[in-house]
């Protein structure tokens, strides 16, 4: 049998057994979480994309008239938003349930958070960078976008509305979202 490599640093049998148990626990926990994330393709927002936050209004994507919900050719949605003290723009977002949604968010000023509680739609919004979150909302209802990063004295009141409508109402959702753009 192979000699226990921890014998060099530890002469107690019980304790060596515990080192192995600790290592196995760490590997199993980390391994399961890692496998789960990779297998179900769940990754934190990590797109590494830069933008000049002082010139958002001059960019194509984040100019005011281009914000909001857009339907892509494959039926998924892209939602473009700006976080600025103290709100998310456009202020109401409506999307159908069970539809892939890609949020693209940029800050016009300082650091913000972006979180829809009870869902995994969450990211930091960092000036100078674009945040991208891919998700889908299985349950209909009214949700809130909350800013969860301190952004100044008005931070508490920085939140806005997300409405998840039935999937069948997809076309209307698209229309009303386009309505929000103006």
């Amino acid at each position: 049998m192979m000699r226990d490599p921890f014998r060099a640093i530890c002469d107690d049998d019980l304790e060596r057994r515990w080192i192995w148990i600790s290592l196995i626990m760490a590997f199993v926990m980390g391994g399961l979480l890692g496998l789960y994330a990779v297998a179900s393709n769940i990754h934190p927002p990590s797109n590494v994309e830069t933008i000049d936050s002082t010139r958002l209004h001059l960019s194509d994507e984040f100019a005011e008239e281009n914000l909001g919900v857009k339907e892509n050719a494959d039926g998924s949605l892209t939602v473009t938003m700006v976080a600025a003290r103290y709100g998310f723009y456009p202020p109401v977002i409506e999307v159908p349930a069970n539809t892939p949604v890609k949020f693209r968010v940029a800050s016009a000023d300082v650091l913000h958070g972006f979180h829809v509680p009870f869902t995994n739609a969450a990211t930091m919004v960092v000036p100078g960078y674009i945040s991208e979150v891919n998700t889908a909302f299985p349950r209909e209802g009214e949700y809130s976008f909350l800013c969860n990063e301190y952004c100044g004295l008005g931070h508490d009141s920085m939140w806005s509305r997300l409405v998840v409508v039935p999937k069948s109402a997809e076309t209307t959702a698209g229309n009303s979202a386009r309505g929000n753009n103006s």
Partner: protein
């Protein structure tokens, strides 16, 4: 061999620590009360965020740094039985740190640095805040140097002998702190100070946050280290037993040193400027850093069991009742480890690459770090202070009864405060809010937990007052203490000759440097490769 102990250095540092703690505890009480608009007349975001910033700086930077430095000097002299190397330099470090605190306190208290203790550019504070913070960090490097030199001097004078475990741990922490504080020091010296003085126009927030993360995770191990040192070297003796294994203590300290710095991207999981692969790599390391804590749990509980059995405890659990529960060090050790169990559970969720999304920046996180830091670590600071005050002042502890009651209240208050915070986080409550102007459905579902939070805050504040009262009375009117010796635990398993690697740090430091280059090299370099856009300063 006679030697002068560092009693006045220890006391001066620790008094600054606990004075800061008392002020910060009062601010904490104010925060739990106003946070849910309980007293509308008190409502003021200016006051609240000024208070949160000050609470964070005082607890996270001042209490910790000064306590650790003071404890380190005292541990070094008493465990090595050797004088402080270059005493004037040690005092210079103390005054540099204190000057830093004063420079930072002025803008904090006048509302000109309400940017939280995490700095958060592009919010900009008064330059004096950043300069003060830098001075505190640089001043603490004096202590790092002192510890490394003192260990080297001892080893030279005692060839072939094993460095006492307490000093080995203290030196590990000094090296850890120096290497991990380089991140925040670079952010402050190269980005925030020049920017706040108008020398540069913009800061790259991605770079600033990456540098801060370099410090942000291992700093919690810097805070935790003295608790572990006390658990390994003071508690077994106070319990009337022996340390189960000296080598496991060294092994745990080395693992903390190697694995706590290069793994900090779990603080940046939700940040868009680092790629997923780096985050995944850091997650793997984050789970490795759980190993030394699991080992510590085993060794400390085993040591307590040895003590319980030596005191006549029998049966599977009988030894627990046989422990000296009325000894503050033993009581604090047990309560500290209980809080570590709860906090560790939450920590696994935070460290998870996928689950973190649900709790990131919610009140859950505040609950987590209060349990681990204010709970597990700080309750041991209290117990160490109760143990060392008589040794440093020469006066007996004013009241062991009040001290024990204080520790119990701290434990109970911390659970009442933090367990509901975890619930609030899962129910979506953001951290760092001064009021809750959200949907009625949210606000209603948060109410019970928020009421509990206030109860917890009041209990903790009472406990904090009792703590400072006992120290003041001990120092002021205490009777002469009967035992001035710091008694370090002997090890049950005695090692004739410690392997070189477990009696030195050179190899481990090189390993950290290599690991850091691998895990932070490109993530930092990318900001100089990509075309990035800096952020202009914003006032709060």
């Amino acid at each position: 061999m006679s030697y002068a102990r560092a009693a006045s250095l220890g006391l001066a540092n620790m008094w600054v620590a606990f004075a800061a703690f008392a002020v910060a505890a009062l601010l904490g009480l104010y925060q739990v009360v106003v946070r849910i608009d309980l007293v509308p007349a008190l409502k003021s975001p200016e006051l609240y965020f000024g208070s949160v910033s000050t609470h964070g700086v005082l607890m996270g930077f001042v209490l910790t740094t000064f306590f650790i430095v003071g404890f380190g000097y005292y541990t070094a002299t008493t465990s090595l039985k050797q004088e402080i190397w270059n005493k004037p330099l040690a005092w210079f470090g103390f005054w540099a740190c204190l000057t830093g605190v004063v420079l930072a306190a002025v803008p904090l208290l006048t509302g000109n640095a309400s940017v939280l203790y995490t700095f958060y550019p592009p919010l900009m504070a008064h330059p004096s805040f950043y300069i003060g913070a830098a001075l505190l960090v640089v001043g603490s490097w004096v202590w790092c140097l002192e510890m490394v030199v003192m260990m080297a001097i001892w080893k030279k004078a005692h060839p072939g002998e094993t460095v006492p475990l307490a000093m080995y741990g203290t030196t590990a922490n000094a090296i850890l702190w120096f290497m991990t504080s380089l991140g925040v020091a670079s952010e402050v010296l190269f980005q925030l100070i020049p920017w706040s003085l108008g020398i540069i126009d913009t800061v790259d927030v991605g770079l600033a946050r990456t540098l801060f993360s370099w410090t942000l995770h291992a700093i919690v191990y810097f805070w935790l280290f003295p608790a572990y040192i006390a658990l390994y070297t003071l508690v077994p003796k106070a319990a009337g037993g022996k340390l189960f294994s000296d080598q496991m203590g060294r092994f745990a300290f080395i693992m903390l040193l190697v694995f706590s710095i290069p793994i900090a991207f779990h603080h940046l999981y939700m940040d868009p400027f680092q790629a997923a692969g780096w985050k995944f790599l850091h997650m793997a390391g984050t789970f490795m850093v759980a190993v030394p804590t699991l080992i510590t749990g085993f060794t400390v509980i085993a040591s307590l069991e040895v003590a319980g059995r030596m005191r006549g405890g029998r049966g599977l659990f009988g030894w627990i009742g046989a422990l000296p529960w009325k000894n503050p060090l033993v009581l604090a050790a047990i309560l500290s480890m209980l809080m570590l169990v709860f906090g560790g559970f939450g920590g696994v969720i935070n460290a998870s690459y996928s689950m973190n999304t649900m709790v990131h920046n919610t009140q859950w996180v505040t609950g987590h770090f209060h349990l681990i830091f204010a709970g597990t670590s700080v309750i041991m600071y209290f117990a160490v202070a109760y143990y060392l005050w008589p040794k440093m002042t020469g006066k007996a502890l004013y009241s062991t009864r009040i001290a024990n009651a204080q520790l119990w209240l701290w434990f109970i208050g911390m659970l009442i405060l933090t367990l509901p915070w975890h619930q609030l986080g899962i129910a979506g409550q953001p951290r760092r809010i001064s009021s809750t102007p959200y949907d009625e459905s949210f606000v209603q579902s948060w109410l019970t937990s928020e009421m509990l939070m206030i109860v917890g805050g009041v209990v903790l504040f009472l406990s904090a007052l009792m703590m400072v009262y006992v120290l003041l009375r001990t120092h002021g009117v205490g009777q002469p203490a009967d035992n001035l010796e710091v008694e370090y635990a002997e090890s049950l398993h005695v090692t004739a000759r410690m392997p070189h690697l477990m009696n030195s740090f050179g190899f481990w430091v090189m390993l950290v440097v290599v690991y850091m280059l691998a895990s932070y090299g490109y993530p930092i370099a990318q900001f100089f490769i990509l075309e990035t856009h800096g952020a202009l300063p914003w006032s709060i």
